[in-house]
């Protein structure tokens, strides 16, 4: 089985460098889901970087579009476009916008940035594939804070009702949203029970354990959609960014940037 941990490390280094160069936010959100994206692109999904429009490809949607840097890094590292392009992220005239965009970027299915959109579009893709009898799957990564959006629950209700067994949602459950912990903002717990009540198969795992992620993503149920509640740490991989609200917004600069890259094994 492919070891996807080196891919995740490279993604983390890019995320830190891209948010540093762009003086941009959301480094914590990108680090939180680096392992999820590495397992999806490196192992779980059927994609071909040489054929980004291959009709039989699995579809990936990042609904928490603010973590776009993480997906751009995964796409570049898996060969969808040159790694050098990542340095243009957030720069004047670039098509690598802060929130993930599909225009001019091979491999991005859906531009997002406003929360609560990706799951519904994913449900539409899955419903269409089911009508066609096609065997590709749709994967959607959503955030925990994003579950405040009512549109997500409309889509969750729909996918459960229509038993969209070709749809997998991964929740990057790092328990911190924009301004405060999820528990202090709008409590999601009992979270798994909510999904179950809407007709979904629920699996939980450590969202940084690649083996556990791969296991929970494999052999999806045949009669209902699958949600993987991936317990993650916001800012994972850089000690001083972990579990802080601050690093949802702060951009790594100066000594903090050097320290972050050192922790990720980058020689300065």
């Amino acid at each position: 089985m492919t070891d996807t941990r080196p891919l995740a490390l490279r993604i983390r280094r890019h995320v830190v460098e891209m948010t540093h160069l762009g003086n941009s936010s959301h480094v914590g959100a990108g680090l939180s889901m680096a392992d999820i994206v590495a397992v999806l692109y490196g192992r779980a999904m059927r994609v071909d970087p040489q054929r980004p429009d291959w009709p039989a490809r699995d579809r990936f949607i990042l609904s928490k579009g603010h973590a776009g840097a993480c997906v751009y890094a995964a796409l570049a590292e898996t060969g969808f476009f040159p790694v050098g392009k990542l340095k243009t992220h957030y720069q004047d005239g670039s098509d690598l916008s802060g929130h993930v965009s599909h225009k001019g970027i091979p491999g991005v299915e859906l531009s997002t940035g406003s929360l609560g959109h990706g799951l519904g579009v994913g449900a539409g893709l899955a419903y269409g594939a089911k009508l066609d009898g096609a065997d590709w799957r749709t994967y959607v990564v959503i955030s925990d804070g994003e579950c405040d959006e009512g549109s997500n629950w409309e889509a969750i209700l729909f996918a459960g009702h229509h038993q969209l067994a070709n749809l997998t949602v991964v929740v990057d459950y790092n328990k911190i949203q924009s301004l405060a912990p999820v528990d202090e903002t709008l409590r999601l717990e009992p979270f798994a029970e909510k999904w179950r009540a809407f007709g979904w198969e629920v699996r939980e795992c450590d969202g940084h354990d690649h083996g556990a992620l791969a296991d929970t993503l494999s052999t999806p149920p045949e009669d209902k959609p699958l949600v993987v509640i991936a317990h993650t740490t916001k800012g994972k991989g850089v000690s001083f960014m972990e579990n802080t609200v601050l690093w949802h917004y702060r951009s790594p600069q100066g000594d903090e940037y050097q320290a972050a890259q050192r922790e990720l094994g980058v020689e300065s």
Binding site: S114, G124, S151, E154, F158
Partner: protein, 312 residues
């Protein structure tokens, strides 16, 4: 209009399995035939307009042409961000159909008065905005929107105009339809309220004034050429819309003229003055209350004709 649309769409969908219709749990007695005949091409998304629009985008990205269907403001205002970010930005084949343009559901109150839709939707990039005036245009527009890739909004009306058989030819999106020829004035309108315009111009004709009547069924992209010609060839322009004056058809016509540096000899917009239409009643009644019925159009045109006579 609604029945003409459903009839036409059913015909298209019979031949094209990729054409799909999604409703937001509305269309009792109207969509049943489509649903029964083409179950694989019909979906009731439930009372969830945001998800309906997202589903439509996903289905469209997967290769389908998807019509979303609901009444008045429901398929537009609640999921506006989905129309903008998901459908339009991805050039998805999503055709949003709003049944009950303007005061079609006049007695139901302001929640059901679709009076800002044209202005809001025409401000979005990569969308076609269509408001047919009669059953013929409704059928033609439905066919044309299926044939044209990308996102569109189709505003349907409870009322519809009765137009001459001779004017029913060569429908093209973005091309105004001449309902009556003349040079005294040009009246530019869209939607079922065109009937009020035709009633007014019949009076004017009996008074010796032949007016040009344009059905501007495509509000976006606007037929600029027809607007400029109206300014250059006729005595003035009156726009009539069952819609707010803030940013609607009249605004589009005015912008076109000013941008081109072409001044009509006279200009007047008829529509809803920036206010909530809190009075309720039938479509016919509300047109009178808000000064957009045939009598109001007639008075405005007469005034403009007398001004134009004085100035020349």
């Amino acid at each position: 209009m609604r029945d003409a649309f459903v009839r036409q769409l059913t015909e298209i969908a019979r031949k094209d399995a990729k054409v799909m219709l999604i409703t937001g749990d509305l269309g009792f007695g109207v969509l049943m035939k489509f649903a029964e005949e083409l179950p694989g091409q019909f979906l009731n998304a439930g009372v969830s307009e945001q998800n309906m629009t997202l589903l439509a985008t996903g289905l469209a990205l997967g290769g389908r042409t998807v019509f979303t269907y609901s009444i008045a403001n429901f398929p537009i205002l609640r999921p506006l961000e989905m129309i903008r970010n998901d459908a339009c930005y991805h050039n998805a084949n999503v055709k949003v159909v709003g049944i009950g343009g303007g005061f079609s559901y006049g007695a139901l109150g302001i929640s059901h008065h679709a009076t800002e839709d044209l202005a809001i939707l025409r401000s979005l990039p990569d969308i076609t905005v269509v408001a047919p005036c009669d059953l013929w245009e409704t059928e033609e527009a439905t066919r044309a929107l299926v044939a044209q890739p990308g996102t569109a909004y189709l505003r349907l009306d409870k009322s519809h105009a009765t137009t001459s058989e001779g004017s029913k030819r060569d429908f093209a999106l973005g091309k105004a339809r001449v309902l009556e020829e003349g040079d005294a004035l040009t009246i530019v309108s869209c939607g079922g309220i065109v009937q009020e315009v035709l009633d007014a111009t019949a009076h004017l004709r009996s008074e010796g004034h032949r007016c040009r009547v344009l059905s501007m069924h495509t509000v976006k992209p606007l037929d600029k050429e027809a607007v400029l010609r109206a300014a250059q060839e006729t005595g003035g322009i009156v726009t009539v819309e069952e819609h707010t004056l803030d940013g609607g058809l009249g605004s589009a016509v005015a912008e076109t003229l000013l941008d081109a540096g072409v001044a009509p000899r006279a200009f007047k917009r008829i529509g809803l003055r920036s206010c909530f239409s809190s009075v309720v009643g039938s479509q016919e009644y509300l047109r009178k209350v808000y000064g957009m019925d045939s009598q109001s159009i007639l008075l405005a045109a007469r005034e403009m004709l007398s001004l134009s006579t004085v100035s020349s």
